[in-house]
């Protein structure tokens, strides 16, 4: 079991630790409800050091990534980041990731912790035809996500200039004479920052943020309720090796004006049509729909839940589900919860209005 650079601080701050993607990570500190609310109304910080980082460098870096990844990167400027998918040749999703353009011929990819080995293998295989270097630098980077309406003011007080970053942009900054990379981005639907750096600078910033008393340390529990409420997918739940971007509504992150791995399969699937798609549901009776529960209409199984929560601090119960195409938005279905059939209505997945400051759309 691996530990992140922030492990000792988590224990001091009272974390309840769990195993996640082979790391010991905080599940919660105070409570998932308090942490969720702190991010929505003030500021919270998350240890995301378990995430993987790859550096892609060389003459063909852009050509290679445009071929290996789904999204169009031609117009991605230096110091900008973009969401993309890594697909296999059948169009199935191997991972979703963030692409940072560090320099003309140099990119940083940030991938899901549980997919580091799989992604590296796939990219390494594809790079043979290109003049490009691929390095897994996951162990060298720590990562803190600072999120919430107060994130900007709190961080600006420590690191001058971060408040000037537009959404989905980044730059290098120094803190205590150490370099870190900071982007205006996140996974909660709030304004906020993601701070990358070596173990020492990440520890100093995490500790300093805690000492401001304006930032609530948050665990993976609230990270999941927040991303879910904001309509953001999570690998292993909404998307996995058996789903394509068309069913999971991530088609807008595929650049059909270029060639990329999986494109042909996706075009064929578009022509044939999909049978199910990712959609939101709202429970109409008091209960909670959880991952794996089955959905019925007129006694027939029409789908299943991928994530569901009672939104912390409310009594609203929403879920994401894959449901057959013929069941339309606004229609009522039944979720089997233990021995009960509970009514629910199909709706969009935007359970929360995102508060991004400005710039390109990250996700639908």
């Amino acid at each position: 079991m691996k530990k992140t650079p922030l492990y000792d601080l988590h224990l001091i701050y009272g974390a309840k630790m769990i195993e996640y993607a082979n790391y010991l990570m905080p599940e919660q500190f105070s409570s998932i409800i308090k942490e969720h609310q702190a991010v929505r109304s003030e500021a919270g910080m998350f240890d995301c050091s378990h995430m993987g980082e790859f550096v892609v460098e060389g003459k063909d870096a852009l050509k290679f990534l445009n071929y290996a990844l789904s999204n169009q990167l031609n117009d991605l400027e230096i110091k900008k980041e973009r969401y993309s998918l890594l697909l296999d040749s059948n169009g199935y999703i191997l991972d979703d990731l963030m692409v940072y353009r560090l320099a003309e011929n140099k990119y940083l990819l940030v991938v899901n912790a549980s997919n580091i080995d799989k992604d590296f293998k796939q990219l390494n295989k594809l790079k043979e035809a290109f003049e490009v270097n691929l390095k897994n630098v996951s162990e060298a980077y720590g990562l803190i996500a600072l999120q919430g309406p107060k994130a900007k003011d709190v961080l600006e007080a420590l690191i001058l200039g971060v408040g000037q970053l537009p959404f989905m942009s980044f730059d290098e900054f120094t803190y205590n004479n150490e370099v870190c990379l900071i982007s205006r981005s996140g996974y909660t639907g709030e304004d906020g920052f993601e701070i990358y750096g070596g173990p020492q600078v990440i520890k100093s910033i995490y500790q300093r943020l805690y000492e401001t008393s304006q930032v609530t340390p948050c665990g993976l529990g609230s990270r999941d309720t927040l991303r879910f409420e904001a309509g953001l997918p999570l690998y292993g739940h909404e998307i996995n090796g058996f789903t394509t971007p068309i069913e999971s509504r991530l088609d807008s992150f595929c650049g059909y004006d270029k060639d990329f791995i999986g494109k042909e399969a996706l075009l064929k699937l578009k022509e044939e049509g999909i049978t199910k798609r990712l959609i939101g549901i709202e429970l109409l009776e008091r209960n909670i729909a959880r991952e794996g529960y089955m959905i019925y209409k007129d006694g027939l199984n029409v789908g299943y839940i991928t994530t569901g929560y009672m939104i912390p601090g409310t009594s609203n119960v929403y879920a994401n589900a894959y449901i057959d195409q013929q069941v339309k938005l606004g229609e009522v279905v039944e979720v089997q919860i233990r021995n009960k059939m509970v009514k629910a209505k199909l709706r969009n997945r935007k359970f929360y209005d995102k508060k991004y400051v400005r710039g390109e759309k990250k996700n639908g």
């Binding site: 919660q28 409570s31 998932i32 409800i33 008091r286 009672m310 912390p312 233990r338 021995n339």
Partner: protein
């Protein structure tokens, strides 16, 4: 350390049962509520439902997860604690005062596999 109350019988799945004549009250133990964390929803059965011993009769849920409730004793539900619908946190505040339901027993209660307070205290810590 989680509390236990004398005079109740406890199941391995952390429900308690209190027998009063041909009726019984059922709830969850202090250990159960502590392990769950903040309870945000209690899924209650309907009055009139019958359950056999160890049958799932509902669930207590935290933000993160649902835990099935298993019937510690065979019986027919005569009332449910409806206060838990609006205030599920009552189970965190006092899981012994705030029972989940009341059943009418059918015949002599089967107490095999249930533990008394001191045995349960040893088993659950």
């Amino acid at each position: 350390m989680a509390k236990v109350v004398e005079g109740l019988f406890y199941s391995k799945s952390h429900e308690w049962v209190k027998i009063e004549g041909n009726k019984a009250f059922v709830g969850i133990s202090d250990y159960a509520q502590e392990s769950l964390g903040a309870v945000v929803f209690v899924d209650l059965p309907s009055v009139g439902d019958s359950f056999s011993k160890d049958e799932v009769f509902g669930a207590v849920e935290s933000v993160k997860a649902a835990s099935d409730l298993l019937m510690p004793i065979k019986g027919k539900v005569t009332s449910v604690n409806e206060a838990l619908l609006d205030q599920p946190e009552l189970l965190n505040e006092d899981p012994y005062l705030n029972f989940i339901l009341e059943v009418e027993l059918e015949g002599a209660p089967d107490l095999s596999s249930l533990m008394d307070a001191s045995t349960y205290l040893k088993e659950s810590h």
